[in-house]
Structure formats: C-alpha cells, structure tokens
Amino acid sequence: MSTGAEAPTPAPQCPVAFPLRQPGRPFPPPEYAQYRAGPGPVRTELPSGTVWLVTRHEDVRAVLTDPRISADPSRPGFPKASRTGGAPSQYEVPGWFVAMDPPEHGRFRKTLIPEFTVRKVRELRPAIQQIVDERIDAMLAAGTSADLVESFALPVPSLVISSLLGVPRADRDFFEDRTRVLVRLSSTDEERDKATQALLRYLGRLIQIKQRRPGDDLISRLIAAGTLSRQELSGVSMLLLIAGHETTANNIGLGVVQLLANPQWIGDDRIVEELLRYYSVADLVAFRVAVEDVEVGGRLIRAGEGIVPLLAAANHDDTVFAAPREFDPERSARSHVAFGYGVHQCLGQNLVRVEMEIAYRTLFARMPSLALAVPVEELSLKYDGVLFGLHELPVTWK
C-alpha cells in the first residue's frame, strides 16, 4: 500500500499538553494557529498512545473522509480524552453508529436519514416553536431573572429530541442528569457506566411499551421498519438523545452571549452558521485512529496511531475564513466543519439550524430587555467537558 509520503518530517520531540483548552486560556487556544502555520500534524502522547493533532481545514477534511482512518474506539491506539485514560463505556453500546466504520455504519445511518431530511425538519418547526414558547412562558411567569442554561438552553433541545423520539416529558430531568455525566471529562468510568446503563434500561422499557402501543414518533417508526434489533434501537435512541442535547444547548447559550454583546445581529438568521463556526463546541468530538499508514498534511501517520482533528482549529483556518477570530455573520461560513465531515457528518445538523434560529428569534422578540446578570468576564466556561460551552448563564429582564 502506498502512502505517498517519502521521507516523513520528524515530529516535535516534546509532547504538548492535551486538551489545550484550559481554564483561564483563550478559546480557541493560541497553539491552534501556531500548529496550522507549522509543517503539519503535531504529535503528542496520551494514555492511549501516540496521537496526532490535525489543525488545517484541508487536513481535517482529508482525515474525516479517508477510508484508511477509523472511527472505531475499540481499535488499539484510539485517542482517549478522559483524564483517567479509560475507555468510555458508552461506545460499547449496540447501535452506537457514530463509533462504527462503513459498511456497518451505513446500515444505521440509512435507517435514520429519512427522519432528519431538510423537509422533515421543516415539518417540526411548529412543535419546536411551541417548546421554545413554553420555556419562555415559564421564565416570564417565574420572575425577572434566571439561569438561561438551566431554564432554556438545556431544556429546549432536550424536549425537542425527546418529543421526536416519543420520550415522555416527565422523564426529562432523568435524561439531562445522565447525559451530563457522559459528556463531563472528569466523570469516572464507573459514573459513566452507571449513567449509560440507567439510560439503556429506561429506553428498553420505552421501546417495549411502543411495541405494544405505537405512537407518531421516531422510535415507533423504527420499530415498524423492522431493520434494527431492540438492543440496537435502544442504542440508537440513546445516541440521538445524547448527541443532540448538550451540543445544541452550548450553542444556544454562547449565541445569546454573543448577541447581547452585538445586538445589531439580533433577528438575522445568518448568525446561526457563523456561531457554529466561531465556537465549534464539538472541537474534541471527532477522534480517529489510522488503520493503515497514511500521510496527512505531509506527515506519515503509522497504523495504530491516534488522530485528533481539532474542529475549532479548522474552523479558524485563515486560508478558508478571513479574519477567523472576528464574529462576522456576513461571511459565508457554510464550509465549516463544526458538524464534522465525511460519512459521520452530523445527522442532526438541519434540526440544530432550525432550533437555533427559532430559539434566538423568539427569545429576543419576547424578552427584549434580556441582559446579563453578571459581567461577561465572570461567566463560567466549560473546560472540563468534551464540549465547549457555559456552565451557567445568569440573566435578568424587566
């Protein structure tokens, strides 16, 4: 097999700290720009072994479309972000297709695609609008201040995906608690296991109920399609629940802060794509491992070495996005890789776009006096999660 790489450039000797996103440091970390300008992917060591950090837009896209590179975390050398270095047990769930390679991945993806087309998501608009309005009604009824993460950003995507799946509303708190354990870097493997098992048990029961009494929901349609086993159905449902929850919530929260600082963009739907690019909340999500020797950006990556395409780095590549640190909704940001690239590119992306658009529009229309309750420097940013975002967002209104 040919890799096209003749003489691999020697990698830097000293391993870099990982993750580079740390409390008190700017985001995206300044090293991202440094690495992009350097000779190619940067080598570092994690508990799981050698890992290559990939930062250029072109190289990130190449990694995410290369059939010699795998998304399967059970392969030796797959990067592990957890500080404990343990394998997150959530990946061992049947139906967890984000962690599968083609052709196995395709069986799941193809079953799900019809539920997330542009048209299907458009049909969900009234339901999403109602969920957003109800959350705002509740905030207005409760007083003149709130934590917007707790009362709006987290419940909206959670209610949207729960209603799509057919999960009863009453079980929302249960889901949010367990999901947060799974996405926190500091969770122990034991905590992750417990949360995973509780979620799967719950979904197993829900599927049984829907087998007897189908409703107008995604789980019932998947049961009717008959292509997935019950275990796979629980796994797929859990993936949808988790993948779409905190990712969207973090974008909503960060977007509100950005719009409060730059109110000239309120009401302009072009902010959605630029927010996705600018914050790249899923920077550390798309981990991979080389299955064969492969050349990326002029460096030879050996079979069994891990690859971390840094999505925020690619989305701040100044050869693709001029003045990347500027928040500019007028630029054309669509080629961002905030949703990844290749066969795993986010299945829920069109749902996200509609949710974000409706969330901002409705929030600022119905709460025109919305303001931060603390100075912006005091907002607590999430550095301990796989995802970037806000822990809380204290706001007030009149």
């Binding site: 997330f116 542009v118 669509r334 290749g342 590119q345 069109n350």
Partner: protein, 63 residues
C-alpha cells in the same frame, strides 16, 4: 453543466438541499435526487453544493 450524483455515497446530510433547493432534493429515503441536471442559471450553487457535500456524492462537469 452536467450534475451527477452517487446515491450509494450520499449520507443524507442535506447540505445540497440547503445550498441549492432548485437543483437538489431528498427522496423518501432521505437520499439526494437531482431536480435539474443542467443546473440552469445556478451553476455557482451547484459547484458550492458539490464542495460542501461531506461524502463526495455530487459531481459537476462543465459542458
């Protein structure tokens, strides 16, 4: 211009439909279909859709 698509590669992300709704649609299975293979006046949008498609399912060729 000639637009061709490979539904075997399509992963249904819908980038093409968002970019050029007059040229692309998703069928009942969520996979890409071409509405106007000549691209008409939307040659630029066709090229953009091909560049954004995450799975390389869209090809555009000049006449």
């Amino acid at each position: 211009m000639r637009i061709t698509v490979d539904t075997g590669r399509c992963v249904g992300a819908g980038q093409c439909v968002l970019t050029a709704p007059d040229l692309f649609d998703q069928d009942d299975d969520g996979l890409v279909t071409v509405l106007d293979p000549t691209a008409g006046v939307s040659a630029g949008a066709a090229r953009e859709a091909a560049a954004l498609c995450p799975s390389g399912a869209i090809s555009v060729a000049a006449d």
